[in-house]
Symmetry: C2
Subunit: 208 residues, 2 copies
DNA sequence: CAAGCAAAGTGACATTTGTCATATGAAAAT
DNA sequence: ATTTTCATATGACAAATGTCACTTTGCTTG
């Protein structure tokens, strides 16, 4: 089995080579340390599996992966992640990466590669735990940026629960007219027309 | 490595035993053919990894898995799926299963087990392809059951887009009053009060 | 054919909603 | 100490909404 490794840290890359080759079942035919190199290596070596660091200087492992998969849709890319790369995981998943494993998990890497070789996808357990959340990841709506005050936000949420102005007023100990004014302002700020659109906005933009 | 296998089809289970033991790296210590057996086996053998068929007579592999994980939260369960088990995959994923592989993929099974052994999660590629969709799978709202006609449903959707009665009327070539009546009926059927609650209902019950 | 049924519509009505101009009191800024 | 700002509030108004009781129209179906 022919493997290629790309990691910012050459020491890591070399350690991987040692570990992987020790089993005698695979050879690390190329080592790179940047996204650009990864692409070149893939083109020339066309390894069975390529290990990629997600974060590297210059072109990230992700961008490199995208390029490689564009040229070689069957490429088997296995990402090495440190942990805090949550945001990237979803992207890579959609992109078609075959998996993620933690760099620290040395013993796990060889079996993972073999599984990938067999057409499977592999995820370190800590990564797996996150996937349910990540998949339905909502990119936090920025109330600040839209000039929405906390109170306005609160009112928006109550509208999005289906409450009437009177009910909202009761809930927040405000006058009904006050609530109307708040909503009026909210609609203006968000360029909406009525409370229903506000609710829709909430479910599609804020909480989606 | 001590493995247990549970499969409705004894022949499959025996073939697996042969395949897995041929590498010399693992032993299949127990074979079962029902959910109930799976639980008993797990209790007595406590294998490193347990292979489970999803569909079995009587208690399904899923239910058995749930029970096992209740008793042994660290259990490593690897499901064998045939394909069309889409619905179950999500459930098993949330439950904490370590993976799914296609029964047909004989060569892939041993490496998958090793990866699981190392704390990773493994998914056959065809399963992986589905996961993005599966994750955000909505359990289909049953309009029929609530006595919602196709037209009513259509109107509900337009309300949920934030359209006014007039706009809906225009869009569907109906009179505005007609639309009002439709909505009135819809609210009655669903025990809601106004269009905003209808939109909320849509996002929380129908499309959620 | 006639009765019946469902889809679409009308009109009247009460309520709710959204807008706007303006007012009040308290806190913050000058 | 005054001005400004902010949150809250009011009242008046038009428009949109929801309800209800009735048509109208065009099939089905007995």
């Amino acid at each position: 089995m022919r493997i290629a490794v790309t990691d910012d840290d050459k020491l890591v890359a070399l350690s991987l080579k040692t570990i992987l080759e020790s089993s005698g079942e695979m050879t690390v035919d190329a080592i790179g340390s940047s996204g650009a190199e990864a692409i070149q290596i893939y083109r020339s070596v066309q390894p069975d599996v390529m290990l990629l660091d997600i974060r590297m200087e210059g072109m990230s492992g992700l961008e490199a992966g995208e390029e490689i998969l564009r040229e070689f849709p069957e490429a088997r890319l296995l990402y090495l992640t440190t942990f805090s790369d949550d945001e990237y995981i979803v992207r890579a998943l959609k992109m078609g990466a075959k998996g993620f494993i933690l760099k620290q998990d040395f013993e796990g890497i060889a079996p993972a590669i073999k599984a990938v070789m067999n057409g499977q996808s592999v995820f370190g357990s800590r990564i797996m735990d996150r996937i349910p959340q990540l998949m339905q990841q909502r990119q936090e709506f920025d109330f600040e940026a839209h000039g929405i005050s906390p109170k306005e936000r609160e009112i928006m949420e109550l509208v999005a629960e289906g409450l009437s102005n009177k009910e909202i007023a009761g809930r927040l100990f405000l006058g009904e007219g006050t609530v109307r004014n708040y909503i009026s302002v909210l609609l203006e700020k968000l360029s909406l027309r009525d409370r229903t659109q506000l609710a829709v906005f909430y479910y599609t933009e804020v909480k989606a």
